[in-house]
Amino acid sequence: MKKKTEALVISQRILAEGIYDLWLETELARDAKPGQFVGVYPVGKATLLPRPISICEVDAAKSAIRLVYRVVGSGTAEFTLYQPGDNMTILGVLGNGFPLEAAAGKRAVVMGGGIGVPPLLETAKRLSNLEGGEKPKSVAAVMGYRDAQTFLSGEFEKVSKLHIATEDGSVGTKGNVLDAMREEAIEADVIFACGPMPMLKAIKSFAVANGIKAYLSLEERMACGVGACLGCVCKTTKVDEHSHVKNARICTEGPVFDADDLDL
């Protein structure tokens, strides 16, 4: 059940330039799945809307979720000021999450670009922990960064094989995540991806060309976060079951979509 609730800041630190790493204690952790997100409310002057931030990691034992965010505007700038012991107001858990079951017996690759990297960490972790019939054949991570500030890379290495691409070539493959896929000849049956739209478009083409199943996590401006305002839609190839037009709500039917269903 979705809730608006107070979450206790456990810790906050800087991961890379302008990138913050925040752990929150909240009852929402119980149901949180990778690929889902929460809405975080700034309290500052005259801001009303929750900021959608993906769940980067879940620590069920501690009832904690981890958010990794980039400072881009007034809301995220405010979030940097919170310290352990402070409360933040969050709305969650929102969205559908990655369909991990689609990786059963498959070579799964999680791909993240820029601030799309964080949600793939919990995804990779859970994929690697699946057992029995649900277990993927393999799990690899391909993460794309601007430069050598490869935040979270150490943690990806602990849960899966990691390949890195950087725009400036300072670490790993010079180029983007698909350049790394090709250069390192990474094989995939199913891709879970999050990142900027050009990257997602390229992944969709790549997946289609190579007969790979791809699940893409999208971003859009949101107001309600719960499916009520119809602010956050994306174009779909087929008529969407809820909207009855070729639009799906990213906050509710998404943010993760089967690439085949998306008209990017």
Partner: protein, 299 residues
């Protein structure tokens, strides 16, 4: 203590409704709000056929409010009746269906289709794009408003609320036109047309360029219009625009509203409607107000 209000023979357990388009069909907020406690659920606008709405970005935050240019995306009346009305039947609350259309006949189709459905009232959104009359919507011209209201009243089986646009020179004239054409009530305000430009990207924040402004920023304008409209007509007025708490709701009631609706603030706090209901009761208790209807237009 009585919090019930009546509009055109329909009795609401309290004066607090949801503003169309901000609460889905109720379903989306049912995790947060016990719909049984609401005076009414006012649904998202529905047309005779499915509408795709506008391209994204469709929403943008601004100081004390937001802009939206959803473009009235909706699944069409058939799906709406089967799914959304069916869902709402489970609840002990009044159901008001918000209707939109591009031509008069679009509206009439929807109104007719709802004749025998479990709908308590119709709310007609005359701020939809009107293809025939060009850029000006039905809600911005006295004669167009009069005509569409008359046509709808001729066939409507449920009482009709005309939802007025604030983007007019005289809200009193519009209210009078709706009343003269037979409207059973009016609701206001719809959003005020606004614009936001991202100066770093040098482009509009909304794909549609303009969008409707809602939220606390518009409250003083909304209160003024509710006051003017309710003094211009004898039919009940449903007030909305930036209501965030019970004080705001009471302000609208004192300005002349019989009922109020919570819109954009649902996005800020999904519990707003319930807080408003409880806050009104607390206010009544504090000041010994026996009947909410005593507060209407008291100022």
């Amino acid at each position: 203590m009585n919090t019930a209000v009546e509009i055109a023979g329909v009795k609401f357990k309290n004066p607090v409704m949801t503003a169309s388009g901000t609460f889905g069909s109720g379903m989306e907020y049912s995790d947060f709000v016990d719909l049984n406690r609401l005076g009414a659920v006012v649904t998202k606008g529905v047309a005779n056929v499915p509408w795709e709405g506008n391209p994204t970005p469709r929403v943008a935050e601004v100081y004390g409010g937001m802009l939206n240019a959803i473009g009235l995306q909706n699944p069409g009346i058939d799906v709406f009746v089967e799914r959304d009305l069916e869902f709402l039947k489970k609840y002990d609350t009044k159901v008001i269906v918000n209707v939109c259309g591009k031509s008069v006949s679009d509206y009439l189709d929807v109104v007719e289709r709802l004749s025998d459905e479990a709908v308590d009232m119709l709310e007609i959104n005359v701020s939809c794009p009107n293809v025939k009359e060009g850029a000006i919507a039905f809600g911005q011209k006295v004669s167009a408003l009069f005509d569409i209201t008359s046509e709808i009243k001729r066939i409507a089986k449920q009482p009709v609320i005309m939802k007025l646009s604030p983007n007019v020179t005289s809200i009193a004239e519009m209210a009078k036109a709706a009343e003269a054409a037979g409207a059973d009530a009016i609701s206001l305000i719809n959003t005020i047309t606004g614009m936001k430009i991202d100066i770093h990207k040098r482009k509009f924040a909304l794909a549609n360029k303009t969008g409707g402004l809602s939220g606390p920023a518009i409250k003083p304008v909304a209160v003024r219009m509710v006051y003017e409209a309710s003094h211009a007509v004898n039919i009940p007025v449903i007030g909305m625009g930036g209501i965030a708490n019970a004080e705001d709701a009471i302000e609208f009631i004192m300005a002349g509203a019989t009922a109020v609706a919570v819109g954009a603030m649902n996005f800020h706090d999904p519990y707003t409607t319930i807080n408003v209901i409880e806050g009104i009761e607390a206010y009544m208790k504090q000041y010994g107000v026996q009947d909410i209807n005593e507060l209407r237009g008291i100022v």
